[in-house]
Each structure stands twice: as structure tokens, then as C-alpha cells.
């Protein structure tokens, strides 16, 4: 039978989300004690990574600013927040959740512009999950006696929180919601390349009538983060970011009375058996490493394919990758957006070149990249072994290293053979094997026949050098209460 002679090539016309829904100010101050105030130090610019245009000028909080914020948080804690009933705290958090839902479109557009991620992801995943985290923890605020942490768990005091650039609003929600629910007040620093949704969140706090000083937002870079972590009146440190910085923080708080939780890097194994539901496994691989441009700590960056199915799997994977659309983050049809910064792009390029130099086979689908902005095509490296640097080091980009294995035990060995331990994926139609594998993998989050699924009720966090402590679920309360583990 002949193949079709038709000439219908389905072009998806550009479908841009309107930028006008969000109002970006030319400059922003720091959010301290319920108000925006000018920083005392320098300022810096935040740009859109997809176009390199300057979006706004943002203050860099210096030590004096950090001190002012911590003082405001302490005042608010002592005089207002720690005296408030859980039921009242919960109502503030419910208000915040609702306002995020009301302003969902603004937040999604702003996040995509500042971070570079596709609007479909910020609209369908980041913003709804952020609202859901506030909703979830709102419900715990007046039920702490049921958390399994004793009859009267107590907050820790002032929490210093430093978050990364990959899920700016969502990481803010993961930090602030449980902290406030448990009765703590916070000083939070968003990443230097993605401050804007945190600053919009400050407006939400105002709209919710949150008592001044309960939430303080300090923009800045590494210095600001160090100052927050080291401040003597911060009782609790929560950090999400690189393992390197996580180590530095652990050293800094040594010998002090500060509690600390860390959520760091990963090099997760996504393990596909020969009896996997193969089309969904391909989706899971794509989702695991190309979702959010691979800027995900729990990304499935090592594909462990059972040797008997590896060839078939790779040919389907390549075919699927050819349908990925890379481009304008505000285009609703974009699947893969921009790399967050020039710095990150350089790192990705460097490690990819190393991968090639070490002999792995490199492949990307043909794609046209825009002339401005920071872009990297989805890339796979085949013939990778554990000895390659691209199998051990976190690239934090849309780059997948493909290794093979023969038996379940070998898969477990290879998956666990890393200093990291954040997440893992298992693809098989056999229930007992999926559960056995899950019991053997040294990872804090195991996804079976799915990947990159998050929920406020589901605890998230790593083993080994991927950090300690859990965010989400009942377990996420422990980090912010005095009878908890940290």
C-alpha cells in the first residue's frame, strides 16, 4: 500500500501568551517588615534569558539589610506570630493560597519571562503547585499535635531561607508555607537571576494582610545568602541549591544551635526494563530530563536501559525528541525554554564537550535556535559508562547520559554508585520488581512508571550528598518544629 502523498505539514503558528498581563516595575527594593524599602547596598539587573533584555533593577541586600530583616522577623515572631493560634495562622495561609490562584496568570507569565521556562509549565505546574503548597500547609497550622512530633510541638523562631533559580515561585512556596504554618517567621532570599516572582509574592503578603515582618524578602547574590545563613539570630537555615554551597552552609552552622535542612544536587538513574510500557517510558525519559530544560535537581539525567531493549528504546526516544519545540518561553506550544543564564549555559557546554572528548556519542535533533538568549538543544550521549564525567557530575541542563545494564541487581548497583541520592525512576510492568527495586535504591524519591511528579502531600528530599531533611507532607513539618529531627 502506498504511503500518503499529502502535503499537509502541520505548522503550529506562534501562540504567544500576552505579556501585558504582568506589570514589571523598573526597579525593586527589599521587602522588610511589610514594606518595600530601598536597599543600602548596590543594585543589580535581572534579565530575560530568552531575549537578554533587561527586566528590572533589583537591590542587593547587604549585611545591614540582612540585620534589619532578621530583626523585623524576630519582632514579628515574638510579638505576633508565635502568640497567634494555629487556626488564625492557617487563615493567613489560606488567603495567600487563594490570592496566588487569583493572580495565577500574572505569576505564570512573570516566571516564564524571568526564568526562561515554557509558559505551559509555569501555568500548569509551577503556579498551581505553589498555591497547593500553601493550601496544604494552611491545613496543618492548627493540627500540629497530630503531626507525630509530640503533643505540643514548638516553632524554632526565625528561619533564614535561600532558594534556587530553577523553580523560583515553587521553591518559595516549599520554604515559606511550612515555616509559617509551624509558627516561624522568615527571611528568604530568591536566586539572583530570578527575583521577580518572589517580589510579586511580597505583594500577595500585603494583599493578605499578613502581619509585617512575618515574611521578609531580600534579593541579592552569594554574599547576601551567606549573611543570612551566618546571622546569629537566625534559628533555622533551609537551603536548596548546589551540593557545593550546601557543604559550605553545613560547615558554617557547625557548632551553633542552628537547625539546618538542605536540598541539593542529584544525578538520578532512570531505569528502563525490557518489559516497560515502552511508549510511556519514552515520555518519562523525556519528561525526566527535558522538563524545565533539565534544570531539576531530581532530573533523570542517567538513563539506565536494559541492554536487551536499549536499541529499540533509543530509536523511539530520538523520534520523540524530534517533536520537541524549543523557543520563546511565552509561546504556549514551546516544550523546551531558555537556559537560565550565560553562566549555566557555559557549564552545560563545557560538560557536553567533555562528554564528547571522553568518547561518548552525542546526538541532538535538528532545531533552529533563536539568535538572542541562552539556548541549548536537547541532547543525548550514548555509550556512556560510570567512568565518564558526564555520568557522575550534575550537568543541570537538557543533557541525558545513556548507560546500559543486564540484570536488576546490576541496575541497582549502577544507580546507587554515586555520591548523590535524590531520586530514581523505574519502568517495568512487573509490580513485584518495581517494589523490590524501590526498596533497594538509595534515593529519597522513587518514581515507578512515572517521573517528576510532585505534590504538597508527598515528602521530597535526598539521601547522601543530595542533602538531608524532607519538604512536603507530614514529614515536612519536622524541619520547622522543635521536636523534629533537625
Amino acid at each position: 500500500m502506498p504511503t500518503s502523498k499529502n502535503a499537509f505539514e502541520f505548522e503550529y503558528a506562534p501562540a504567544p501568551e500576552a505579556r501585558s498581563v504582568v506589570d514589571i516595575r523598573p526597579s525593586y527594593g527589599l521587602f522588610i517588615d511589610g514594606e518595600f524599602v530601598d536597599g543600602r547596598g548596590r543594585s543589580f539587573k535581572t534579565i530575560s534569558p530568552s531575549t537578554e533584555e533587561v527586566l528590572a533593577e533589583v537591590a542587593e541586600a547587604d549585611e545591614a539589610d540582612v540585620d534589619a530583616a532578621v530583626k523585623a522577623a524576630r519582632r514579628a515572631y515574638t510579638r505576633v506570630w508565635s502568640r497567634m493560634s494555629g487556626a488564625e495562622r492557617s487563615k493567613y495561609l489560606f488567603r495567600i493560597a487563594r490570592i496566588i490562584q487569583e493572580r495565577a496568570r500574572e505569576f505564570a507569565v512573570l516566571e516564564s519571562i524571568d526564568n526562561g521556562k515554557p509558559i505551559r509549565e509555569s501555568r500548569d505546574i509551577d503556579v498551581p503547585l505553589a498555591a497547593a503548597h500553601f493550601f496544604y500547609y494552611a491545613g496543618w497550622a492548627d493540627k500540629l499535635e497530630y503531626a507525630g512530633l509530640g503533643p505540643t510541638p514548638q516553632p524554632l523562631g526565625v528561619a533564614g531561607q535561600v532558594i534556587p533559580w530553577n523553580f523560583p515561585l515553587l521553591m518559595l512556596a516549599w520554604k515559606i508555607a511550612p515555616a509559617l504554618a509551624c509558627g516561624n517567621t522568615v527571611v528568604l532570599k530568591p536566586a539572583e537571576t530570578t527575583p521577580l516572582t518572589a517580589l510579586l509574592f511580597a505583594e500577595v503578603c500585603q494583599q493578605a494582610d499578613l502581619p509585617p515582618g512575618v515574611v521578609n524578602i531580600l534579593t541579592g547574590a552569594g554574599e547576601t545568602g551567606r549573611a543570612i545563613v551566618a546571622h546569629p539570630d537566625v534559628d533555622k537555615v533551609a537551603f536548596t541549591g548546589s551540593t557545593e554551597v550546601g557543604r559550605a552552609i553545613a560547615r558554617t552552622v557547625a557548632g551553633s544551635t542552628k537547625s539546618v535542612t538542605l536540598e541539593l544536587g542529584g544525578k538520578a538513574a532512570n531505569i528502563v526494563f525490557d518489559d516497560a510500557p515502552i511508549d510511556q517510558a519514552v515520555e518519562g525519559i523525556v519528561d525526566g530530563i527535558f522538563f524545565n530544560q533539565g534544570h531539576v535537581c531530581c532530573a533523570g539525567s542517567r538513563l539506565l536501559a536494559q541492554e536487551s531493549v536499549a536499541e529499540e528504546l533509543l530509536s523511539r526516544l530520538k523520534r520523540r525528541m524530534a517533536t520537541l519545540r524549543i523557543g520563546d518561553p511565552l509561546d504556549k506550544n514551546t516544550d523546551v525554554g531558555a537556559i537560565n543564564s550565560a553562566e549555566q549555559l557555559a557549564k552545560i557546554r563545557e560538560l557536553s564537550d567533555i562528554g564528547e572528548a571522553e568518547g561518548a556519542g552525542r546526538w541532538s535533533p535538528a532545531c533552529e535556535l533563536p539568535s538572542h538568549g541562552f539556548w541549548f538543544p536537547p541532547t543525548i550521549f550514548t555509550g556512556v559508562t560510570q567512568a565518564h564525567r558526564i555520568a557522575r557530575e550534575e550537568i543541570f541542563g537538557p543533557v541525558l547520559s545513556v548507560l546500559t545494564f543486564r540484570t536488576p541487581k546490576e541496575a541497582v548497583e549502577k544507580a546507587n554508585n554515586t555520591p548523590f541520592g535524590l531520586s530514581a525512576g523505574i519502568w517495568s510492568d512487573k509490580g513485584s520488581r518495581v517494589l523490590w527495586m524501590a526498596s533497594q535504591l538509595r534515593a529519597g524519591v522513587v518514581w515507578s512508571n512515572t517521573f517528576n511528579k510532585f505534590d504538597p502531600a508527598s515528602p521530597f528530599g535526598g539521601y547522601k550528598e543530595s542533602g538531608y531533611g524532607r519538604e512536603g507532607g507530614r514529614h515536612g513539618l519536622a524541619a520547622y518544629l522543635s521536636n523534629g529531627a533537625h
Binding site: 500500500m1 504511503t3 500518503s4 502523498k5 499529502n6 499537509f8 505539514e9 502541520f10 505548522e11 503550529y12 503558528a13 506562534p14 501562540a15 505551559r120 500548569d124 525490557d274 518489559d275 516497560a276 510500557p277 515502552i278 511508549d279 510511556q280 515520555e283 518519562g284 531493549v309 529499540e312 517533536t323 504556549k332 506550544n333 510492568d429 512508571n449 512515572t450
Partner: protein, 328 residues
């Protein structure tokens, strides 16, 4: 999981002769196909449904969708008058706009084929007839064969048959296979040509996506030209995840044999938005070769007016209303 070999079938032999030689061989083959994770398939379909198709692409997609419609009436109360009206609409869907393309076919009961044929003449719109004791399929084989032959003799271009779901669900795969092969033979005409055979799986009764994949492969092994989701007489009818699984099956079948098989969702597609989601799914799962009325059809009745309304809105810029389109 079987590794699918991509060689073309040699004339006079079947690539899958061994697999279809016995009940147990066929069962092993079908059960050896990769499983489908329902949650993952649903999610992929939902993501494909978020594609935003605008302006010129949307106009082209709507015209293509119109050209893919099998305009359908399958009611006990069908009469020659009803069928004539339907056929007239199929040829000229929008009386106010002669640039509007005709639909692919009309789809009627076998005893209405003659009336449809007469009305459609040489307009190029095909006549598709349901057969084999549609919709239940519960009748002796000689009745189903007679049903088919009569429709072909009356001038049907295409036959939409139903598989025996009772046999399928009780594991009698070889029986289902042999029935399809027999009906296919009954589609032959004296002049050597053959009516095209669409095989209705009735996915709503099969329920699991694993069953949809297996039934789809069964139909293709038996020589079906098209695999079709539903009779439209039960709920659920065509859903996007089911179409996704069927498109994966035809894609894999072409990889293994070099042959293309068409896909037809029927029932449950009422809006242009739904139709466009299906076209996006075809595009991204099976590929653009399937974006042609020869390889993809919509079994629908109310869909056509919604397509016409969207078409008109794109031309005039105004939202339209049902008064401006014919009810046939």
C-alpha cells in the same frame, strides 16, 4: 517485548504467518506487545490537548477536518429522505460558501447504500456502510457475511465492520482474526477491486489500553485498512488517549511491515477544538503522513456544524449561530 522487524511483506505471504497460525501463537504475540501505562497515556494525551493552534494553521486544520468527516446517520428510524439530506450536506456542507470542501464520506446502514450512492453520484464523496450485525456483532457468521456482500454489491466504497468483542474478551483471538479475514474477502468485487475495510474495535467495551493495543494489532494482522474506535452507540466512545494508543499501533505496524493503516475515531467528537486536538495527536504520534482523509477520518454528525461555524468565524471575525447552518 517483541522486537519489530522493519521489512516489507513479500507478495503472496504474510510477514506474521507464524504468529497467526494457531490460537496459542497469536496469544503469545499479542500478549508480548508492550503494555500501556494508563496514567502515562492519559497524561500524554492531555498535554497534546494543550497545543494552541492559531490563525492560518487553524484554518487549514479545520478544512482538513471537514475533508476527513464520515458524515454519519445510523438510526433505526433512517429513511431514504434522511439519507438523501445527509448526502446532500456531505457534498455541500455550507450552502453559503461554495469554497467549503466536501466531507470524505457518508456512513449509513447497508440497506441505505443504494440511496446514498444515487444521491452522491460522482461527487467523490464515498459511501461507507456499517455491516456485520452492527453495532453488537452478535449474529451467525453467514449473516455477517451476507450483510457485507449486500452492502458491497449495492455500491459501498468502504465497509465499517465490528469485531466480536465477546470472543476477544474471552480470549478467542484466532476466531476474531479469522472473522476479519473472512469479511475482508467478502469486500471483494467481481472486477477485482475491493471495498476498503474499517475494523471497529469498540474500545469502550475493551476498557483497557492493553486490550486496545492488542485488538488494533489483531485487526491490522488480519488486513484491515483502517482501525476504528467505536460504534458510537455506547459510552465512552472515542477518547484522546485511546486514539493515542491506536496511532502508536499503526506507527509501529508501519515500522515493522512498511504498510500504513488508517485510524478513525467515532463518537464523542463534537467540537472543532476536539477535532484539532486529534489532528495534533496524529501529527506528533504517527506523523504527518496520516494527516490525509485516506488515512484519518472522523466518524461524526454534529461535529460538522461546529467545524463550519469555526470556519465562518475565521472568515468573518464574528461568532456564528446555528441558524446559519443546515440541520439535516
Amino acid at each position: 517485548m517483541t522486537t519489530l522487524k522493519a521489512t516489507a511483506p513479500s507478495p503472496g505471504s504474510t510477514l506474521f504467518a507464524q504468529e497467526t497460525a494457531s490460537e496459542s501463537a497469536l496469544r503469545r504475540f499479542l500478549h508480548g506487545l508492550p503494555g500501556v501505562d494508563q496514567v502515562g497515556a492519559d497524561q500524554r494525551a492531555a498535554t497534546l490537548g494543550t497545543r494552541s493552534i492559531k490563525t492560518t494553521s487553524k484554518q487549514q486544520a479545520i478544512d482538513l477536518a471537514i475533508r476527513m468527516v464520515d458524515l454519519t446517520t445510523l438510526e433505526g428510524m433512517d429513511t431514504p429522505g434522511k439519507v438523501r439530506a445527509l448526502a446532500a450536506k456531505a457534498m455541500r456542507p455550507d450552502p453559503a460558501d461554495p469554497t467549503c470542501p466536501a466531507t470524505a464520506a457518508v456512513c449509513v446502514y447497508g440497506d441505505m447504500v443504494g440511496v446514498a450512492r444515487q444521491t452522491l453520484g460522482d461527487s467523490g464523496v464515498h459511501v461507507a456502510a456499517v455491516a456485520t450485525a452492527f453495532p453488537s456483532g452478535r449474529a451467525p457468521m453467514d449473516v455477517k457475511l451476507a450483510d457485507t456482500r449486500d452492502a458491497v454489491a449495492a455500491g459501498a466504497d468502504e465497509i465499517d465492520m465490528v469485531i466480536d468483542r465477546g470472543a476477544f474478551l474471552s480470549g478467542r483471538y484466532l476466531q476474531v482474526y479469522e472473522e476479519i479475514v473472512a469479511i475482508h474477502e467478502a469486500c471483494a468485487r467481481p472486477d477485482g477491486t475491493s471495498a476498503h475495510l474499517k475494523v471497529i474495535l469498540e474500545t469502550g467495551e475493551l476498557q483497557t489500553y492493553d486490550n486496545v493495543r492488542r485488538a488494533g494489532w489483531l485487526a491490522m494482522l488480519a488486513g484491515g485498512h483502517f482501525i476504528k474506535t467505536s460504534t458510537g452507540k455506547i459510552q465512552p466512545a472515542a477518547t484522546l488517549p485511546v486514539i493515542l494508543v491506536m496511532l502508536e499501533a499503526v506507527r509501529d505496524f508501519r515500522d515493522a511491515t512498511g504498510q500504513m493503516v488508517g485510524v478513525k475515531p467515532a463518537g464523542g467528537i463534537r467540537s472543532s477544538k476536539d477535532a484539532i486536538k486529534h489532528l495534533v495527536t496524529v501529527n506528533e504520534v504517527a506523523g504527518s503522513d496520516w494527516l490525509d482523509p485516506d488515512w484519518f477520518r472522523f466518524g461524526a454528525s454534529t461535529l460538522l456544524n461546529d467545524l463550519l461555524m469555526q470556519r465562518t468565524k475565521m472568515k468573518t471575525g464574528r461568532y456564528s449561530g446555528p441558524d446559519y447552518f443546515t440541520l439535516d
